[in-house]
């Protein structure tokens, strides 16, 4: 009984808002009021701080790096145009391929695991318990400090031999020796560090979960759906726009991992190139070998790859992301 009234009340409210929107003159679109030149100028004037910043600090350097990507610029000598030599050299460079591989593993494994962890915690925190606010703050805390240099240093200390992880392993009789010096274990260590900072996607998931109408879940429960079924059939589809948003953000973020790898490997990408992330190799080429042309070429390959992957994600999203009010 109460359910139906709320439902009715809500749809009435929505209808009202929708009505207001359609009747607003701005949405009519039939006759645009002619904008005066003065208005346009004022508009650009107000935009100018952002525009200046964009042109001078983003677009300008980007264009310059596009030019440098086709030169042999080494910081000391004037750049000489060398065509696509940098790009062909890239794909013959075993360390470049290694860095692409390291980054791919990090993205393909790290992002799903992190999102799963974030979603799981968000679901737990969405339930009604006493002291939920405190729990939310606690689970978010690692993300506040996670990207900092100090945490990377602590992380290294935790996984070094005789560190905490090593002592726990020894307690359970597992082979010990520390993760930091073992090329096979540094990637799990880096992924754990990323997963541990699940706070940002978790908060977004939590907000998404709050948006799911309780009556949908209740109706499914009345129809006999168990908790798992309710999660898969109701919660996940309702959450898919949020999931998509998080997936996109985390994927792009994972491609750019740098500082934690820099600190954990002591600025080398080691041991044995096991933490040689793409951006890190780019940095090494540009700022320790001074091969700015080569590094610029790498930057543009990364822009292209991230762009393509984003486009693919958008394309596939049509199949699995449901927006409220979508007509299919």
């Amino acid at each position: 009984m109460s359910v139906t009234t709320t439902e009715r009340g809500r749809s009435a409210g929505r209808g009202g808002v929708r009505g207001a929107a359609t009747s607003s003159p701005a949405r009519g679109g039939a006759a645009k009021p002619p904008r005066s030149r003065a208005d346009t100028r004022a508009g650009y004037a107000f935009l100018s701080p952002w525009l200046l910043g964009f042109v001078l600090l983003t677009a300008g350097p980007m264009l310059m790096s596009l030019y440098l990507a086709f030169t042999d610029y080494n910081l000391f000598r004037d750049p000489q145009f060398i065509g696509i030599d940098n790009f062909t050299a890239l794909f013959a460079d075993p360390r470049f391929l290694k860095s692409a591989q390291v980054t791919a593993v990090y993205v393909l494994v790290g992002v799903p695991v992190k999102l799963a962890a974030a979603l799981a915690v968000a679901v737990l925190l969405n339930a009604k318990h006493r002291g939920q606010g405190a729990y939310r703050s606690m689970f978010y805390a690692p993300s506040l400090i996670g990207a900092s240099v100090s945490v990377a240093i602590v992380w290294r200390a935790m996984f070094i031999d005789d560190g905490i992880a090593d002592q726990v392993q020894q307690f359970f009789g597992l082979p010990a020796g520390g993760w930091v010096g073992n090329p096979g274990m540094t990637m799990p260590m880096m992924i754990l560090l990323a997963v541990w900072q699940f706070g940002a996607p978790m908060v977004i998931f939590l907000a998404g979960l709050k948006q799911i109408p309780a009556e949908l879940l209740e109706a499914a429960a009345v129809d006999g759906a168990g908790p798992v079924r309710r999660f898969v059939a109701v919660t996940l589809p309702m959450l898919s726009p949020v999931l998509f948003f998080n997936l996109l953000l985390e994927t792009i973020g994972a491609f750019q991992v740098f500082s934690s790898a820099f600190i954990i490997s002591g600025g080398t990408g080691g041991p044995a190139d096991s933490t040689l992330f793409y951006t890190f190799y780019l940095y090494l080429k540009g700022f320790t070998e001074f091969r700015m042309g080569y590094a610029s070429a790498m930057a543009w390959v990364l822009v292209l790859v991230v762009g393509i992957i984003t486009a693919i994600l958008f394309r596939t999203s049509r199949a699995w992301v449901h927006y409220t009010g979508d007509v299919r």
Binding site: S65, F76, G181, F287, L302, V303, V306
Partner: protein
């Protein structure tokens, strides 16, 4: 979403932004070749001075600078320091923007690159005016010259040696290595120690893997009467030499004789000797002071390097140099500061052997050294080495810093067993071909 993407792209190129910003300032770079005149005393002069190193070195520099400012009240010295890696990143960016500091600490690995790109001041015409070089050993002073110009003044010297920790050797009951042993004898000795130390807790090893040190390879070539680099800056050795070098030590790696690389990566920046697990290490002699502090014992000593079948020749290497920027507005004052730092006896007292043994005798004699101390051992070692040092310093070529780092990295890959000695040689030559022999 679109906004996020734009931001992402922005972040990606942020790394290259620096290069773009400085590019406009690029292009000049002619060496300032004004006549040298005695440094002015009638006007205020400001100099910048940068070095790499730790806090300990910083406080020594500050002390020396305070003394300099006392003697030259019109000169104000602004100081700055970074750790090794950051230091070169900062300098290369400054070089691109033509804003190198007036006086900078320089390393043999980079002097060629900076000098041949017209970044450094030729100090030749300051000699005898603001800068005295009469007390230098000629070969040592020559290490700061490139194409006939004096682009750096060495502050101190060192030479390679074998540090051994007698506390550890006592523990495993093996005598220290004997002077004059050959490389093969050294390898056999390493094996003996590692076998004896297998049951110690923590395990004790004979030494650390020295294959990935390019200087050690060069030293090995020098003992055979060869040089490492040709006039044009390309390697003067063959792939086969590099394969032979890596294969020499392969059995030791295969049998786990060396201090394991997994451990050494974890104790960085310390080394096996500093964590009391490796009984010997082949290093520059001035590093023994830091080693003694790390290992917590004074019971260390130095021996010459193992000898090859063709001899035991070693060479001096300036542990660091001082250079001045080609764009300095105050070449006279810069030369005066360099002169003070390399010649003044008080400065020698302040630094001790922390930068190596001072190149100038006046500084060396001014050091206050206790008999039997680590400093004393280092100075004694260099005195004794004087007749073994028969070769000139093999001067690093342009791009040396890069190929040295690659040599070290591949040495690690070798230690992890990821590559074979042949691949070690192949991959290093691949990197050397794209780095060395530029204009």
């Amino acid at each position: 979403m679109v906004r996020t993407r734009t931001k992402t792209a922005g972040k990606i190129v942020a790394l290259t932004a620096a290069s773009a910003l400085v590019l406009s300032a690029c292009g000049g770079g002619g060496t300032a070749s004004t006549e040298a005149a005695p440094v002015a005393t009638d006007r205020d002069i400001e100099l910048s001075l940068v070095w790499w190193g730790d806090d300990d070195r910083a406080s020594r520099y500050e002390e020396a600078v305070a003394l300099f400012e006392e003697k030259h009240p019109n000169i104000d010295v602004q100081t700055q320091f970074q750790a090794w890696d950051d230091y070169w990143t900062a300098r290369s960016t400054e070089a691109a923007g033509q804003t190198l500091p007036d006086v900078l600490q320089m390393d043999l690995a980079y002097i060629n690159q900076y000098a041949s790109n017209n970044q450094l001041l030729d100090l030749s015409n300051q000699v005898g005016v603001n800068l005295e070089t009469g007390d230098f050993d000629e070969a040592v002073l020559a290490s700061g010259s490139v194409d006939g110009g004096q682009y750096g003044i060495p502050t101190s010297t060192n030479t390679l040696g074998m540090v051994h920790n007698d506390d550890l050797l006592d523990e495993v009951g093996i005598d220290p290595p004997k002077e004059g042993l050959t490389w093969d004898e050294y390898d056999a000795w390493l094996r003996e120690v590692s076998e004896a130390g297998a049951d110690s807790d923590p395990q004790i090893y004979g030494g650390t893997d020295y294959t990935g040190a390019l200087w050690m390879f060069i030293q090995w070539l020098v003992q055979q009467g060869r040089t490492a680099f040709a006039e044009d800056g390309t390697p003067a050795f063959e792939k086969a030499d590099l394969v032979a070098w890596a294969e020499r030590t392969q059995p030791l790696r295969d049998d786990g004789v060396f201090f394991p690389v997994e451990r050494s990566k974890q104790v960085e920046p310390l080394t096996g000797l500093q964590v009391n697990q490796a009984a010997t290490e082949l290093v520059w002699d001035n590093m023994m002071a830091g080693y003694a502090a790390g290992a917590g014992t004074e019971n260390l000593d130095l021996l010459p390097l193992p000898t090859g079948p063709e001899g035991s020749a070693q060479f001096w290497k300036p542990s660091m140099l001082l250079s001045s920027s080609a764009t300095t507005q105050e070449p006279d004052a810069a030369a005066t500061l360099i002169d003070f730092l390399v010649n003044d006896p008080e400065v020698g007292k302040i630094f001790g052997t922390s930068k190596g043994v001072p190149a100038v005798p006046a500084q060396k004699d001014a050091m206050e050294i206790d008999d039997g101390s680590i400093d004393d051992k280092i100075v004694t070692y260099e005195d004794e080495m004087a007749d073994r040092v028969t070769e000139d310093t093999p001067l690093p070529v342009e791009g040396y810093g890069v190929v040295e780092a690659e040599f070290k990295r591949l040495g690690e890959e070798l230690a992890y067993g990821n590559i074979t000695p042949e691949e070690f040689a192949d991959q290093w030559f691949q990197s050397a071909e794209s780095t060395l022999g530029g204009e």
